[in-house]
């Protein structure tokens, strides 16, 4: 479990990083928190010839709430997001999701940008990006481009980012008003990747009906997924328990969990529905509390 030899490169700017990446070609990889890449290198599942380390690129290391948007530089640590004052009140779903990532040492080093670029279907950040209709900036030899969440995640561990592109910034719009949200997951042990997880957000209108609803699921197919079916049922409806039941049952057609050593597809389905129901219920109750 020792990595193969590699060249280590420590750029000081995004520009320099992009240039190094372009120069070294396919065999070079960006390293951010290293919490996913280093274990893969230790098993020699990844054997990059060169590592371009983003940790010395200070322009990427920021985390703030800018009016109604959570803005994160690519190397913002999970922990830095947890420490943003008022985030839980502003959007409980984000605070809860980030608190569910691994353990403190992992959150101290792991980054939002790395998690999104890595695109594990059970990871929390891609789900947050999808749920909040966020976007990311990517910088490559051809310049900067912005990619919307819906266009980013392709399949297992695969995004629309080109190998010579660096993800530089993540932006998550935080809805305002009578909004409630939650992130609920089931993991086998504390800190494990989720068996299944769900993030829900709900905005209630003055008449008590659902003005907006978002439901995102992780661990249920090749990428994190927004449940269009559930959201369609919820929008405009009165969020009674039976309606929430209907909405969460509607996810069945949109999920396709795999069977593995930790459980069968049938088990994951049941858990996915359970966490979806819990998340939606919490989001509704919190939205109601926000009105009151």
């Amino acid at each position: 479990m020792k990595p193969a030899a590699f060249e280590y490169l420590a750029p000081r700017s995004v520009e320099e990083a992009v240039a190094l990446l372009a120069e070294r070609g396919e065999d070079a990889k960006v390293i951010a928190g290293g919490q996913s890449l280093v274990p893969m290198m230790a098993f020699r599942l990844a054997t990059p010839a060169a590592l371009v380390d983003l940790n010395g690129v200070s322009e990427l290391d920021h985390a703030r709430v800018d009016r109604d948007t959570l803005v994160l530089g690519a190397t913002a640590r999970h922990r830095s997001v947890q420490e943003l004052a008022g985030l839980r009140e502003r959007c409980a779903m984000v605070a809860e999701a980030v608190g569910l990532i691994g353990h403190p040492p992992i959150r101290n080093r792991g980054t939002a940008g790395g998690s999104i670029a890595h695109a594990d279907p059970a990871a929390e950040w891609p789900a947050l990006l999808l749920a909040l209709d966020g976007e990311v900036d990517a910088m490559g030899p051809g310049g900067r481009r912005t990619i919307a969440a819906a266009d980013l995640f392709r399949t297992y561990f695969t995004t629309a980012l080109a190998p010579d592109e660096i993800l530089t910034e993540v932006r998550l719009p935080l809805p305002a008003g009578a909004v409630g949200s939650a992130f609920v997951e089931v993991a086998q042990r504390h800190g494990d990747f989720a068996v299944a997880g769900a993030g829900a957000l709900m905005i209630v209108a003055d008449d008590g009906s659902v003005a907006d609803a978002r439901l995102v699921l992780i661990g249920v197919r090749d990428t994190a997924v927004r449940s269009v079916a559930a959201e369609t049922i919820l929008r405009g409806a009165s969020p009674t328990d039976p309606v929430l039941d209907d909405a969460t049952n509607a996810i069945r057609s949109e999920i396709d969990p795999v069977s593995d050593v930790h459980g069968s597809s049938a088990y994951r389905r049941r858990v996915a529905i359970a966490v979806a129901r819990r998340a939606v219920t919490l989001a509704r109750d919190r939205a109601h509390a926000a009105v009151a």
């Binding site: 042990r189 069977s259 930790h262 069968s264 049938a266």
Partner: protein, 792 residues
């Protein structure tokens, strides 16, 4: 003033070192050594038709690459059979490097020694092994059945060993039993998983012809004698040190793992120190596992729940090899009856080879299975007969001691429970639990629609087996006391509890007693730290050695003080004349006086010299007949048989029927291991044991695919239980002294683990009102048992 530390919550003296990063582990020695790495079989079962190491040899920084062809003499033989038995039909142990057949994925095929581990792993990638894959026996049931794939090419079935024993007249008892049942119970494979993996560092000094090995082992003495034999060296030239060891739980006492032979061999052959520190992946694939068993029980019961007859036919998964012979299933069989008096009991055990990592004792060692089977039997019989299972337990208890179980114990003698008080133990548990209130709470919770259940588990733990352990105790000229025992500690608290015993006997301050463990340079003879035996066997040896040193000190003091040896008293680090505390000699000065030589330095040295002159003035020789210089003794303690601790656990669980999660609301432990030297240490042992028990009940299992590939060989996939999964443990104790040893103690190392699977299974069974006959129970299985999802 006499003080007594035996029974006190003395803070562990090793903690300061261990908790502040000052421990010295095997990996800390020989920082400049070359590193070894191993090619391990990709296949569970394959013929090895060729290994090409040329490209690996050419990697810069590689010192050498070895395969079986490089081994000669004893090194080319199969590794030793640690526990032979005439019931072993097919004794099979592995070669240090596989010869021509690999029998599990992970078996070592070739060894690289290189400048560092990175280079060594680069070289591994360049070794080309030609395999001819063979069918693999993986599933235990299947491997034991007809037409199974064969685990070894030279065998016609997979039966490693077979033992049957009977006490009473089982057939007659079944014929007369009003109720007869048949049940099958399964427990899956798991593993010890110490945080520190294994490791070996060896240095051979050619000029002095000396071999020094640091080994993260639980039994350095055996490694030393074994290596001396293998190398044909005078044992005095071979020393093995087990420094601080970061957990063992059984997996570090195999004698010999291939690496323990190969690393010293390479160090001598290459003339450089060689180090191998196992990584976690190697630990999963190359260090022993345990637990896998399948039991078919046939039970005859009376109307009142008394077990009239019990027959258990069971399969034990020994993995690819059986260096521990049949010891594990024999422990299961001998301790299956637990605290119950089974007059008619018969077992038939079959130990089965599979193409998986070999198995050997892991904390609990065959007993968690025994307790699980017996306690499920008690619960099911109670359920069938509509009886309170606590009443059924009481009715079946052994009540008189010593109690002969009627079958053979792991040491080859009869299984005899030395002492116990089971009704009192159960009553103590129930009092802590507050049974009536708990039952009311359960009724209320159920009325609210919650899924809660209460389960019990009982066990006995045979501990403190022979053959022997020793201890050296000496009083130093500065008044400190040095104590050495042969075998290492893996975090228990040997340094603390042995010092307590010595400090009490000699009446010296605890801080002045220094204990060394696990260094064959200090004490060469010993057996090892395993089977909950150290406190009992080494602890009593420490007492014997201290008693002898005391006798010597009293004799010397008596001569100097001109009184009879019976008239001196040990107090405050000195000896004085009874009734005349001012006529005293500090123990340090006495140590000098007992060694009529020149210590030279310090004021006491002069005093000491004067004291020894006193002998001449009295017309005596400095060393009277039968005495020796110094106040020092080495003594050995050899028990006639094991001593049996016991206890009862209770778990209150709540089940989430949507996710299958089992929440342990309360976990209550009653425990009795005879007299307690240090309650804090005993509680720690119980806590750790319960943690591993909960791991085994709900989280931890080694999963193999059909082809014999391990599916979860990482800590991401093997769900080792963490502190976050632990409930608060409520712990109550009784102390039933053992009549069999001077200290009245019994072992405790494995106690906490043994009944946990039984207890949790019974609690889940109570909550779901359905049998739980497979361990561990995953959330998915809970849902399946509850009828919420189809079994996959």
């Amino acid at each position: 003033m006499t003080t007594r530390l035996f029974g006190e919550r003395v803070a562990r003296s090793e903690d300061r070192r261990l908790l502040t990063g000052r421990g010295r582990y095997t990996g800390d020695f020989e920082p400049a050594a070359a590193h070894a790495a191993f090619v391990r079989s990709d296949f569970a079962h394959a013929r090895i038709t060729g290994i090409d190491v040329a490209a690996a040899q050419a990697v810069p920084g590689v010192l050498d690459v070895f395969t079986y062809a490089d081994l000669a003499d004893g090194f080319a033989d199969r590794l030793p059979l640690l526990v032979p038995s005439d019931k072993l039909i097919a004794p099979r142990t592995q070669h240090a490097l596989a010869k021509d057949e690999a029998c599990y994925a992970g078996e070592v095929l070739a060894m690289v020694v290189a400048r560092d581990r990175y280079v060594a792993e680069d070289a591994l990638e360049r070794i080309v092994v030609e395999y001819e894959p063979l069918p693999a026996a993986v599933d235990l049931d299947r491997a034991a059945g007809p037409n199974a794939p064969l685990a070894h090419l030279d065998m016609t079935d997979n039966l490693a060993g077979l033992v049957t024993e009977e006490t009473g007249d089982v057939d007659a008892a079944f014929a007369a039993a009003p109720h007869v049942y048949d049940w099958t119970l399964r427990m899956e494979r798991s593993a010890s998983m110490p945080i520190e993996t294994r490791g070996v560092v060896a240095r051979y000094d050619e000029r002095e012809d000396r071999l020094l090995v640091h080994d993260a082992t639980q039994a350095p003495t055996g490694v030393r004698f074994g290596l001396a034999m293998l190398f044909g060296m005078d044992p005095d030239r071979v020393h093995v040190v087990a420094p601080d060891v970061g957990g063992g739980f059984g997996v570090k006492v195999i004698q010999f793992y291939p690496e323990e032979v190969l690393v010293p061999w390479a160090a001598r052959r290459l003339g450089v120190p060689v180090k191998w520190i196992e990584d976690r992946r190697e630990h999963f694939l190359g260090s022993n596992h345990e637990r896998g068993q399948i039991h078919h029980v046939h039970v005859g019961a009376a109307d009142d729940g008394r077990i009239l007859a019990l027959e258990d036919r069971f399969l034990h998964d020994t993995g690819a090899y059986c260096s521990y012979g049949l010891i594990l299933p024999i422990i299961t069989a001998a301790q299956l009856p637990g605290p119950y008096d089974l007059e008619n009991y018969r077992y038939e055990l079959r130990s089965i080879f599979t193409n998986t990592v070999p198995t050997s004792p892991f904390r609990g060692a065959g007993r968690p299975h025994a307790a699980y089977v017996m306690e499920r039997v008690i619960e099911r019989v109670s359920k069938e007969l509509n009886l309170d299972s606590l009443d059924v337990r009481r009715r079946n208890f052994v009540k008189e001691f010593p109690h002969h179980v009627g079958v053979t114990f792991q040491d080859g003698g009869p299984t005899v429970y030395d002492s116990g008080d089971y009704p009192k133990g159960l009553a103590t548990l129930l009092e802590q639990l507050d049974l009536e209130r708990t039952r009311t709470e359960i009724a209320t919770a159920r009325a609210e629609g919650r899924t809660v259940g209460l389960g019990f588990g009982a066990y006995v733990e045979g501990t403190g087996i022979g053959p022997y352990e020793g201890a050296s105790v000496s009083i130093n000229p500065d008044g400190t006391v040095s104590v050495a025992t042969a075998h290492g500690s893996q975090g228990q608290a040997h340094e603390t509890v042995f010092a307590q015993v010595v400090a009490d006997e000699l009446q010296v301050p605890f801080e002045r007693v220094h204990v060394t463990t696990g260094d064959t340079r200090r004490l060469g003879f010993g057996v090892g730290t395993f089977a909950s035996r150290t406190a009992v066997v080494a602890g009593n040896a420490v007492l014997l050695a201290t008693t002898e040193v005391k006798r010597q000190a009293a004799a010397v003091a008596a001569r100097i003080l001109e009184v009879a040896p019976e008239d001196v008293v040990f107090a405050d680090g000195a000896i004085h004349v009874a009734g005349a505390p001012d006529r005293s000699i500090p123990l340090g000065r006495l140590a000098m006086a007992s060694n009529p030589t020149r210590y030279a330095f310090g004021a006491d040295a002069e005093e000491g010299a004067k004291l020894s002159q006193l002998a001449y003035e009295g017309g005596d020789r400095p060393l009277p007949e039968g005495s020796h210089p110094g106040l020092a003794a080495t003594e050995y303690y050899s028990p006639t048989s094991g001593v049996f601790g016991f206890g009862f656990h209770a778990a209150l669980v709540e089940i989430d029927l949507e996710t299958g999660h089992v929440d342990i609301l309360r976990y209550v432990v009653h425990h009795d291991s005879g007299r307690i030297i240090n309650p804090m240490v005993v509680e720690g042992q119980i806590h750790g044991g319960v943690a591993q028990g909960i791991g085994g009940a709900l989280y931890e299992r080694i999963a193999y695919g059909e082809e014999g590939q391990m599916l979860n060989a990482t800590f991401m996939d093997f769900l080792m239980v963490t502190a976050a999964e632990m409930p608060r443990i409520e712990e109550v104790h009784t102390e039933t002294p053992s009549p069999n040893n001077p200290l009245g103690i019994k072992g405790v190392g494995e106690a906490g683990t043994i009944p946990v699977s039984a207890t949790i299974a019974n609690a889940i069974s109570d909550a779901l009102n359905t049998p739980v006959d497979h361990m561990p129970v995953t959330p998915e299985e809970v849902l399946t048992l509850a009828g919420k999802i189809e079994s996959p």
